[in-house]
Structure formats: structure tokens, C-alpha cells
């Protein structure tokens, strides 16, 4: 029986102290989100992610995966619960403290969310905005070392320097996602969130993007939490799989432990499992 009820296995002490050990470690406790009162999308989810490797969250559409991940960097405000990261409860942060916490968490989006009318290099440099005063952004006066790092990163994600001045809307989907990943890594994050990073891509590109994220995660020691509905990709790249269904965690374990009967619980039905 591998569908470990996570709540029981959580450290029950002060969340902050428990997650100090590893940078990038995340502890979510009783996280609840109701877009409409009385209709929770997340039902008191608790989850601990220690700071290494790729954790994949699988589950059907509309099950709260995206909401869960967006609560972490507060693109969505949780209704109740705690999110402990780097000694802070992210759920309680506001204003400048929230922005400072956000810059330590990189995010990769399903539709890449590049600023279309900006050049590739400008999009990558967006990752530094949390560290710079606004006038530098207005005048595009980014520090030399940031620009140099941005070029290195472009190279690192497999886009040459010739892409730097190209406008983002001129790129293909796979290229855009590479820029999106470079932007997230540019933040120098301690944790990366990826919200369905491959769902808008063809199968081959999807694998390449996952390989890229796995490589960057390993090279730089950045833990990655990725929402993904492709179970095969999750099995192949994650060292931990979390199955969600109707706002609750119904499976939590290593990919080898994920069996068909778990998938039935996660996705419902069984006719599709052949």
C-alpha cells in the first residue's frame, strides 16, 4: 500500500524549523483554497517537499494542481493554511516581503507567458527584476554581469546568442519554453515551480523540455515541483510522484510504486488503462 496518507507523516513541530535543513525545502500545511465560499478546490492539503530532484504532481484537470502550485508563490491567495519556505510562512507575506520571497522561487508556465513584444534577452533578464530598482528596468540598464549571465543561460538552455535580440513572438513553442525556463533560472531560485510546462508542446519537444529541467535541477541543485498530466513523463523524470484527485492528495510515493490501481484512484475509471 503506497498511497501514503501524507498528513500523518508530516513533522508536527514548528514548520519553519523543520524546513531549515535544506534550502528549497517546502512544507505545506492544511492548505485550503475556495474560489467560491464553501466550494474548496484544495481541501486542507499538507505536503512536505525536501530540497532535491523533481517532484511531479499528477491528476485530472480541475483537481487543484495548478491552484496548489500557484498558492506557493502567491499568484493565488490561499484561503487558509501555511506554506513554509526558507523560514517564512509565504501565506502570511505581503508587499515587499512577498516580492523578496517570490524572487527565490522560479516559475515556468504552460503557455510560457513570455512578454511577446520583448526580445528574448529582455525576457530572460525579467528574472532579475526582483533584484533591481525599477528605473533600471525602464531604461533597460541591466548590470553587465546580469546580461553576461543571461547570455550564458540562453546557451545553457540550448538557444544560441543569435536568438537574443529576436522578439519572443517569433519563437516556436519549444524555444519559448526554453526562454521561460531561462527566465526562471535567471532568478537564482532555491525552488522551481512548473505549471504544466509540456502541455502545449508536441511529444518530442515535451521530453526535451523535461530533460532540460531535470538537467538544470541536478546541475544547480534546484528542487522542482512540476504539475504534469502526462503520467509517462512523470514516471520518467520525477523521483517522487504525488497524485491528486478532487483537491486532495491520494498518492504519494516514488515512481516505481505507482501502479494502475493508484491511477484509477487518481483519474477515476479504468477503461483508459490498457
Amino acid at each position: 500500500m503506497n498511497s501514503v496518507p501524507t498528513r500523518a507523516s508530516l513533522p508536527q513541530g514548528a514548520g519553519g524549523a523543520a524546513t531549515q535543513a535544506l534550502s528549497g525545502a517546502l512544507l505545506i500545511r492544511n492548505l485550503r483554497k475556495e474560489y467560491r465560499a464553501g466550494q474548496p478546490v484544495l481541501k486542507d492539503v499538507s505536503l512536505a517537499v525536501e530540497g532535491r530532484g523533481i517532484t511531479a504532481i499528477i491528476g485530472p484537470s480541475g483537481t487543484g494542481k495548478s491552484t496548489l502550485i500557484r498558492c506557493v508563490n502567491r499568484l493565488v491567495d490561499p484561503t487558509s493554511g501555511e506554506i513554509w519556505f526558507a523560514g517564512q510562512d509565504l501565506a502570511a507575506l505581503r508587499g515587499k516581503d512577498l516580492r523578496t520571497a517570490r524572487r527565490r522561487i522560479g516559475m515556468v508556465f504552460q503557455e510560457y507567458n513570455l512578454v511577446e513584444r520583448l526580445s528574448v534577452i529582455e525576457n530572460v533578464l525579467c528574472g532579475r527584476l526582483g533584484y533591481l530598482p525599477a528605473w533600471r528596468a525602464f531604461l533597460r540598464r541591466f548590470p553587465e554581469e546580469d546580461v553576461a549571465r543571461a547570455f550564458d543561460l540562453l546557451d545553457g538552455v540550448g538557444l544560441g546568442a543569435e536568438f537574443a535580440t529576436r522578439r519572443a513572438d517569433r519563437l516556436s513553442g519549444g524555444q519559448r519554453q526554453r526562454v521561460g525556463i531561462a527566465r526562471a533560472v535567471m532568478q537564482g531560485p532555491e525552488l522551481m515551480l512548473a505549471d504544466e510546462p509540456t502541455s502545449s508542446l508536441d511529444p518530442k519537444t515535451s521530453v526535451e523540455i523535461m530533460e532540460l529541467m531535470a538537467r538544470l535541477s541536478a546541475e544547480r541543485g534546484i528542487p522542482v515541483i512540476v504539475n504534469i498530466h502526462n503520467v509517462d513523463l512523470a514516471r520518467r523524470f520525477a523521483n517522487r510522484i504525488i497524485g491528486m484527485s478532487r483537491g486532495e492528495i491520494v498518492f504519494d510515493g516514488p515512481p516505481e510504486a505507482l501502479e494502475d490501481h493508484h491511477l484509477q484512484v487518481v483519474y477515476g475509471g479504468e477503461g483508459w488503462l490498457t
Binding site: R102, M107, F109, A134
Partner: protein
């Protein structure tokens, strides 16, 4: 199978059903137009008589007066009009940037955006000429009144369109910039402005174009510029000079249209 479908037999839905509300609206409009015309003494004999007057008026306009002293007057007036147009466009756009930004409901809290929308609505309520009359009373005859009136007009128009452009932009792109920990101003710089700048430049050059037109008009009520010259010429029955002024205005407007097009291309 087909027999069971209600739409297959004689009960089939009409492809173009009669739309009575639309018909009634058109009939109502026509009836009201006839009624209003009868009230306001808009009749055929009256029109013919008017044409007669018009012919005499046109006769007195030819040939256009191009004596050097008149041309000097025309030149001073026209230069002042152009200055009014350029200054009011510049300051109006400067004011529209923050006002439009604040009025965008996807960036600012409701109390703020609704206040800004209220201000814009007030700015847009009156025609330039009415605003100009107010400013002429407030700051006296001359170009200043005209400039202030057109600044108000420009802000009403440009900031409304600017706010709409911001509301139509992609929030996904903004969200991604916000997720990097960027401050509000940095989000504006890298997430918002890149998306709306091209349209903003479009509105602004269009407004420069129409401010040139408007600047000839605020003069009629004392706001300075070629309009003042035109008004004086009318009052002195210098109809030949009136024609010169009208032709000059047409020439300037046409030139402005070309120039505005060029400007747009430079900025985009």
C-alpha cells in the same frame, strides 16, 4: 430517422426570421425625423432660399484675398494654432499616461480605478469648444485658454483608450513578470508597457492630428490661434480672406495627416 426531427418537415426554422424590434426601431427613427423637421421649419422653399444666399456668399469669397498684410495675419494665427496643438497634445499625453494607467481595472483597486474613470468621464462630457469657453472666462482670451481646453480633451480621449488597451492586454505575461518578484513599477516597465506602447503611440499621433483641427476651432470662442483670425474676418465681412484662411486650414490638416502617419511609423 428524419421524420422524427422537427426541423426536417414543414416546421423547419426560418433561416432569416423577421426581426420586429429592428423594424420598429427604423420606422420610429423615420417618423421622428419627419416630426422634428416639421417642428424646426426645415422645408423645401426654405432650403432653396438658403441656396440662393449661399451662392451670393460664395460669390463674395472669390477670389481669395492674398494681400501681404492678410497673409502675415494668417501666418501668425496659423503658427499659434500649431503651437496650441503641439503643446496641448504633449501635456495632454503626459497627463493621460498616469490617468489611463490608474483607470485600468486590471491593475488598480476598484476605488482608485472608478475615481479615475469618473475624472475621465467629466473630461469627456463637454465638447472642446464648451471647455474652451470656460477657460476663456477663467484665464482670459488667448492661447493659454485654448491649450488648457485641448489638454482636457486630449486627456479625456487618450486616457480612456489607454485604459482600455491596458485592460485588453494579456494578464498571463504580466503574471509571469510579477512571479519573478518584480515591484509594481518594474512590472509596468517590462510586463505592461511593452504590450501597450505601440497602441499608445497610435492614439497619441491620432490625437495630435485631431488637436490641429480642434485648435482652429477653440479660436472661435477666444482661445487664440487661426480660429480667432477667422472669427474676426467673418465679423468684418472679409469673406475673401475667410476663404484664404479656410484653404490654409485644409492644407495644414492634410499635411498633418501625412506627418502623423510618418510619426507613427517612426515610433513603431
Amino acid at each position: 430517422m428524419s421524420g422524427t426531427l422537427a426541423t426536417a418537415g414543414s416546421f423547419r426554422t426560418k433561416a432569416f426570421p423577421a426581426r420586429w424590434p429592428v423594424r420598429l426601431a427604423w420606422i420610429g427613427l423615420a417618423v421622428y425625423a419627419l416630426y422634428a423637421a416639421s417642428i424646426l421649419d426645415v422645408t423645401w422653399p426654405r432650403f432653396v432660399q438658403g441656396l440662393d444666399n449661399g451662392a451670393r456668399f460664395l460669390d463674395r469669397m472669390f477670389p481669395p484675398n492674398i494681400k501681404p498684410d492678410k497673409l502675415a495675419l494668417l501666418w501668425t494665427g496659423m503658427v499659434e494654432s500649431i503651437q496650441i496643438a503641439v503643446l496641448s497634445t504633449f501635456f495632454g499625453i503626459l497627463g493621460s499616461l498616469p490617468l489611463g494607467l490608474v483607470a485600468a481595472r486590471n491593475l488598480t483597486p476598484p476605488w482608485l480605478s472608478w475615481t479615475a474613470r469618473g475624472v475621465i468621464a467629466v473630461f469627456r462630457s463637454f465638447h472642446h469648444v464648451i471647455v474652451a469657453i470656460l477657460f476663456v472666462k477663467a484665464v482670459g482670451f488667448g492661447a493659454l485658454a485654448g491649450i488648457l481646453a485641448l489638454i482636457i480633451g486630449t486627456m479625456g480621449f487618450v486616457s480612456k483608450l489607454f485604459a482600455e488597451a491596458i485592460e485588453e492586454m494579456s494578464m498571463k505575461q504580466v503574471e509571469a513578470v510579477r512571479a519573478t518578484g518584480a515591484s509594481f513599477m518594474s512590472v509596468l516597465a517590462m510586463g505592461v508597457f511593452p504590450q501597450v506602447m505601440a497602441r499608445f503611440v497610435g492614439f497619441s499621433t491620432y490625437q495630435l492630428d485631431s488637436n490641429l483641427r480642434n485648435s482652429t476651432m477653440v479660436g472661435l470662442v477666444g482661445g487664440g490661434g487661426i480660429g480667432a483670425t477667422l472669427f474676426t474676418a467673418y465679423q468684418r465681412f472679409d469673406y475673401d480672406f475667410v476663404l484664404t484662411i479656410l484653404m490654409a486650414i485644409i492644407a495644414v490638416i492634410m499635411l498633418a495627416e501625412v506627418a502623423a502617419g510618418r510619426l507613427r511609423r517612426i515610433f513603431q
